[in-house]
């Protein structure tokens, strides 16, 4: 790949990236969330087109207009969530993308060929079994078999191990090594450092859409890779002065929910910002959702201002003074076709009703107007549709909506994702002010410099487990990223083999798609 660039609206997803893959090599790609890894995959598989640059295969320029074209050229991708057809059987899943065999299916040959491929991989799997009900690991095996059947030359694996158990990871790696022997070029993406160092021949690090470093594994240390991944300066951020810590507001002990997270314990004080750091799949959002009662926790204790509470539903959480600002503005945050005022009043609509149950629009507008001024929402009127606002202003409307519920504890999930620098600074300023007014704030953010700049303490999670809480003095990009990638700070060795690292949350059957 040569000098690839891609822009999405305001974000430069990839900036002048060149990457070389060789046959028979496993090439690991590392990078924080949003570093541009996914965009690269989508360009390679023909889902997106690059704005600039070109892809060369065997020295020939290649235009990949669609997934089918990419497959025809021998480029295939395997995703974290396998893309299988639950109603078709294993053999059909393997050969679904094939075209050359003509329109007529020969079932006997299909089964034999599928069995051959699985035998080559050293896997035993009933090819007549419907794919529904296969474990995620078996589904992934089917995907690999599919790639092989297409005579794949470049195989992209996007976090294939994220939901596998240790044993399954070992199996997968065996398959990957078989492919390497057969001369396939493999691009391997993972957040698990020990896996990368176990299997990769070459390690490349992306940061903010640029390629930072690429080197043979022997020349890379985990410490250096992490340094390359973070490497941004904190100075550009609104720095919150150390705040006065008030009384204890929230105390969480041993919080857990099956198949999501376990044994999470922390305190939040009035006037404190507690940062939640971690990579995708760390299950930070699930903790937030548990505290807001959307997906109630099933173990653990929560004490709010000295009162033990059992949060059952968002309605209950609101009554207790807990508000949650979602990361997903579009789907879960705002009702886009409704006005700013209507959005803000929504959670507390009862307060704006007349005795007959009609909405008092004047009251509603007046309240919205107060927030418009306080948070500097740039809109000509509070009657404007929320969908017409910029991302940053939508974020402020969402904040207003939950502030209007007068919370004691505010959970912010990725409050600055996808908004521009100016709006980001404003949101940071608002967070600082709210904390100064005595609110306890949980700040879930994948933007590491942001977490460091805003938080009094930082809790780090990884795959549903709490890796530690760092004070402001202890928290640096390196210590947090090290913990987020599953390594105790100061422990230099990366000796944990995949086999010694059990995944505490094997995928539950309920995650598989069920027809109603």
């Amino acid at each position: 790949m040569r000098r690839i660039s891609k822009r999405f609206d305001a974000t430069q997803a990839l900036d002048d990236v060149s990457l070389a893959l060789y046959p028979g090599e496993i090439h690991a790609l590392l990078g924080e969330n949003g570093a541009g890894k996914s965009t690269l995959i989508k360009i390679m598989t023909g889902i997106h087109q690059p704005d600039q640059g070109e892809i060369l295969l065997d020295g020939q320029p290649l235009r990949v207009g669609s997934t089918a074209e990419a497959q025809a050229r021998g480029i295939a991708a395997i995703y974290q969530e396998p893309m299988i057809f639950p109603d078709l059987n294993v053999a059909e899943n393997i050969f679904i993308s094939h075209r050359q065999n003509g329109p007529l299916l020969r079932w006997g040959k299909l089964y034999r060929d599928a069995e051959d491929i699985l035998a080559r991989l050293g896997v035993r799997l009933d090819v007549r079994m419907p794919a529904r009900g296969l474990t995620l690991a078996a589904q992934q095996t089917v995907e690999i078999a599919k790639a092989i059947s297409l005579q794949v030359r470049v195989l992209i694996m996007d976090e294939p191990t994220a939901s596998l158990s240790a044993h399954e990871v070992a199996q997968l790696f065996k398959l990957v090594k078989t492919l390497r022997q057969e001369g396939v070029a493999i691009l391997f993406i993972s957040h698990r450092m020990e896996e990368v160092f176990e299997i990769a021949d070459r390690v490349t690090v992306f940061r903010d859409g640029r390629l930072v470093s690429t080197a043979p594994r022997a020349e890379v240390t985990p410490e250096r890779a992490i340094r390359d991944m973070v490497g941004r300066t904190v100075e550009d951020f609104f720095a919150r002065g150390a705040a006065e810590r008030g009384e204890l507001l929230l105390s969480v002990r041993g919080l857990g929910r099956a198949n999501a997270f376990a044994n999470v314990s922390f305190d939040v004080y009035h006037g404190e910002v507690l940062g939640f750091a971690g990579l995708i799949g760390a299950r930070r959002t699930d903790v937030g959702l548990a505290l807001f009662g959307v997906e109630p926790a099933d173990t653990g204790e929560v004490v709010l201002d000295g009162q033990p509470v059992h949060i059952r539903s968002p309605e209950h959480a609101l009554k207790l003074g807990i508000a949650y600002v979602t990361e997903d503005r579009r789907q879960l945050g705002l009702t886009m076709p409704m006005s700013i005022a209507a959005n803000i009043s929504l959670p507390m609509l009862r307060e704006y009703l007349t005795r007959l149950g009609l909405v008092r629009r004047g009251h509603e507008a007046a309240a919205a107007e107060r927030y418009r001024q306080r948070l500097a929402i740039r809109a000509p009127s509070v009657q404007l549709e929320a969908g017409k606002l910029s991302g940053g202003n939508q974020q402020k409307v969402m904040l207003s909506k939950w502030l209007n519920a007068r919370p004691r504890l505010l959970i912010l999930d990725e409050p600055t994702r996808g908004i521009d620098v100016g709006a980001k600074a404003e949101v940071h300023h608002i967070i600082g002010e709210l904390a100064a007014q005595g609110l306890g704030i949980i700040l879930i953010s994948s933007d590491l410099p942001e977490v460091l700049a805003m938080s009094d303490r930082v809790l780090v999670m990884r795959e549903g487990r709490q890796m530690g809480i760092f004070s402001r003095a202890e928290a640096t990009q390196e210590t947090i990223m090290t913990a987020a990638m599953g390594q105790a700070p100061g422990d230099g060795g990366w000796g944990l083999g995949a086999g010694e690292h059990p995944n505490p949350y094997p995928p539950s059957p309920s995650r598989q798609q069920e027809h109603l």
Partner: protein, 351 residues
């Protein structure tokens, strides 16, 4: 149990249970209605089911892709009326031309549905609800409120519905029934042995994966709609042959019967699951109930729709509960024998 789970799929159990239901319904009505076990009953039900089955086969193709075609009733009515007036005007028209005209007209209307759904990306239920009304309105406008009458049609067409292929005693196997059976067999083979057929299942099973697997999803859905329209067109021709007298409300509400037949026949409304044979069994069950209830209670036409509605709800509910349970049972039995017989082997990669 082990033998059963290896050789029978949960879906086949469902089809078997439909056969059982049909037998039970026949036995029940046989005990309630005097003279129920007669050739007349068989002929009436089989002829009625034949037309419905042809249309239901087309609907099955569409539903498998996680779409729906609500306009089939209007297509049947439109083709029946249009072909009827053409033949009435020109009695010399050959049967082949008349059939081709009906199929072509239906295919054209299916093409419009398919283009809007697959390339226009408008939800299927909206598109076909719209064309349901539009096709019917065009028919009303075209007809000028006139009626096609039996005496204006040539003799071969009028006699077609009562023409027999062969007779077993009093029981007649009519040509119409033979056509329906041929269509069912043909499309069962298409679904099982053609790449196109398997793609219908794949697309309905996981549309996102179909896109990523590089399947020509849009084209496949378009073809499904064209075939559905064409079969509805053929259904229209058979409708014309059976009734002879065609008004502008011909086959109105037939989409309810067709969707009911398909869903009762075990075709999953969310796509990816089901067979043409299942749809045929659904058709037979529904037709048996319809025809027999009318004779048993002398219930009105209006109650018929309520019965259909309840059947749809019942079918979807059993799909949700029973089929899922059966599937879990199947998966579990896959796991156990392995674990027992090969304890020392490398971990087999299965549930």
């Amino acid at each position: 149990m082990r033998w059963m789970t290896r050789h029978v799929r949960p879906e086949q159990i469902r089809e078997l249970s439909l056969v059982l239901l049909i037998v039970m319904a026949v036995l029940f009505f046989g005990s309630q209605i005097e003279g129920y076990y007669s050739a007349r009953t068989f002929n009436r039900i089989s002829t009625g089911a034949a037309i419905l089955a042809v249309v239901a086969v087309g609907q099955t193709l569409v539903v498998l892709t996680r779409n729906i075609d609500l306009s089939v009733g209007s297509i049947v009515g439109f083709t029946a009326y249009f072909v009827g007036t053409q033949i009435a005007r020109n009695n010399e028209m050959t049967p082949l031309l008349a059939v081709l005209m009906a199929i072509g007209l239906g295919a054209a209307m299916g093409l419009i549905n398919g283009l809007l759904v697959s390339y226009g990306k408008v939800p299927a239920i909206i598109v076909t609800l719209g064309t349901l009304a539009i096709y019917r309105t065009i028919l009303v406008d075209y007809s000028g409120a006139k009626t096609v009458t039996t005496d204006s049609l040539p003799a071969w067409l009028v006699n077609l519905s009562s023409a027999n292929l062969f007779k077993i005693g009093q029981i007649e196997i009519r040509v119409v029934v033979a056509i329906a059976v041929a269509i069912v067999i043909l499309f069962q083979l298409v679904l099982a042995y053609l790449r196109f057929g398997r793609r219908l299942y794949a697309i309905g099973s996981n549309p996102e994966a179909a896109r990523i697997a590089g399947l020509p999803a849009q084209r496949t859905v378009l073809i499904a709609y064209i075939l559905c329209g064409a079969l509805a067109g053929l259904g229209g021709f058979l409708f014309l042959a059976r009734f002879g007298t065609i008004t502008v409300v011909a086959a109105q509400g037939m989409e309810l019967e067709v969707v009911a037949a398909v869903v009762v026949g075990g075709v999953n409304i969310f796509g990816g699951l089901g067979t043409v044979v299942g749809a045929l069994l659904g058709t037979i069950l529904i037709n048996t109930l319809e025809q027999s209830l009318v004779r048993w209670l002398a219930i009105s036409e209006f109650w018929r729709d309520a019965v259909l509605g309840m059947l749809i709800l019942l079918a979807v509910a059993t799909d949700a509960v029973i089929i899922n349970r059966l599937r879990r049972l199947w998966v579990r039995s896959e796991l156990q024998p392995r674990a027992e017989s090969e304890p020392m082997q490398e971990q087999p990669q299965r549930v």
